[in-house]
């Protein structure tokens, strides 16, 4: 049971990481990156590191996402070919 959950989390983590890098739409990439941070927070919790899980959820999924979105609105949304 625990192993299956760990495997599912790792697969999701890798998928979101690859998608965040390859996405052409930068806004989509930022949202995927925040999902990545959330999954990472779950994994820290599974590894019995609640302090890190809190940090990852607050900083990774919360604050940096907003800062990235602000940056995108001040620059360009699409990646150039």
């Amino acid at each position: 049971m625990g192993t299956a959950l760990n495997l599912a989390l790792i697969v999701l983590l890798l998928t979101t990481a690859i998608l965040a890098v390859t996405a052409r739409d930068l806004l989509a990439a930022v949202i995927i990156f925040s999902v990545y941070s959330l999954i990472m927070a779950l994994m820290w919790q599974r590894l019995q590191a609640p302090d890190l899980a809190l940090t990852e959820a607050a900083v990774g999924a919360g604050v940096t996402t907003v800062l990235f979105v602000v940056t995108i609105f001040k620059t360009r949304r699409r990646e150039e070919e």
């Binding site: 302090d51 809190l54 604050v63 907003v66 602000v70 940056t71």
Partner: protein, 248 residues
């Protein structure tokens, strides 16, 4: 050609890293050196040496106090870099800001944010003050305060938000995080203890555990408020330029 070379390089690097990882001791193995020497040492002695119930806080602020002070300095330097690029608002220039968006945010959202932000702040204060005995601490609580400031600024606009948290308060608190950490650590030297152990054995031997706990919490509060103000200032610096550009 270039693509092939870089792909080959990445493949070689991946193979090397996987080889190294395969040779590492297995994770969570009780026979690892970390599990036989480091972890038992911390788990057995941390509570009586650092007087914090949460061993991680003891390690972060006490055993590894230098590292954490470096991290706080790094956060401060990040803010300095952002402000060097984007510039800081002038003092008292807040009235010059205009609300850029044509759409007035709805009453429902305003009421809800006004209702929720105090609860978020309460939770963040709990995270900071309880970091000594439960998961959490200055960095986490500071990030939550920063998040609540972001929510407030998004809904009520930069003018209202920077009226609530004016620049002089932010500037003072940002510096106070690093300075406070250093001063609280250095006061231990005067009290006959060591740097960043928060113990004053000469001055107050009887007060030892509670004094250490309170100084640890003080450092946590400093980190939390300083980190929150750094995040707020970065956000303000990033959205400020736009508002001035449309105002002129």
């Amino acid at each position: 050609m270039k693509r092939t070379v870089s792909l080959l390089f990445i493949a070689a690097l991946a193979a090397l890293l996987l080889y190294v990882v395969a040779n590492m001791p297995p994770m969570g193995d009780p026979a690892n050196p970390t599990a036989t020497h480091v972890i038992p040492r911390y788990l057995e002695n941390a509570e009586e040496e650092t007087h914090t119930e949460n061993v991680i806080t003891g390690i972060i602020l006490n055993y590894r106090g230098y590292d954490t002070m470096g991290e706080v300095t790094v956060i401060f330097c990040a803010l300095a870099a952002v402000l060097a690029v984007l510039g800081r608002e002038r003092r008292g220039a807040i009235e010059g800001f205009v609300d850029r968006s044509e759409v007035v945010s709805s009453t429902i959202v305003r009421t809800m944010v006004r209702f929720m932000v105090p609860f978020i702040l309460l939770f963040s204060l709990y995270t900071i003050f309880h970091g000594e005995s439960s998961p959490g601490g200055g960095f986490q609580g500071g990030a939550i305060i920063g998040g609540s400031m972001i929510v407030f600024t998004t809904i009520f606009g930069l003018a209202e938000s920077s009226r609530r948290v004016p620049q002089r308060i932010r500037a003072a608190l940002e510096g106070a995080a690093v300075m406070g950490f250093f001063l609280v650590g250095a006061l231990g030297l005067l009290g006959g203890g060591e740097f960043l152990t928060y113990a004053w054995p000469k001055v107050a031997p009887g007060l030892q555990p509670s004094l250490v706990v309170w100084l640890t919490i003080l450092v946590e509060v400093g980190i939390g408020l300083g980190g929150a103000m750094v995040l707020t200032s970065i956000l303000f610096a990033m959205i400020r330029e736009e508002e001035i550009a449309t105002a002129s």
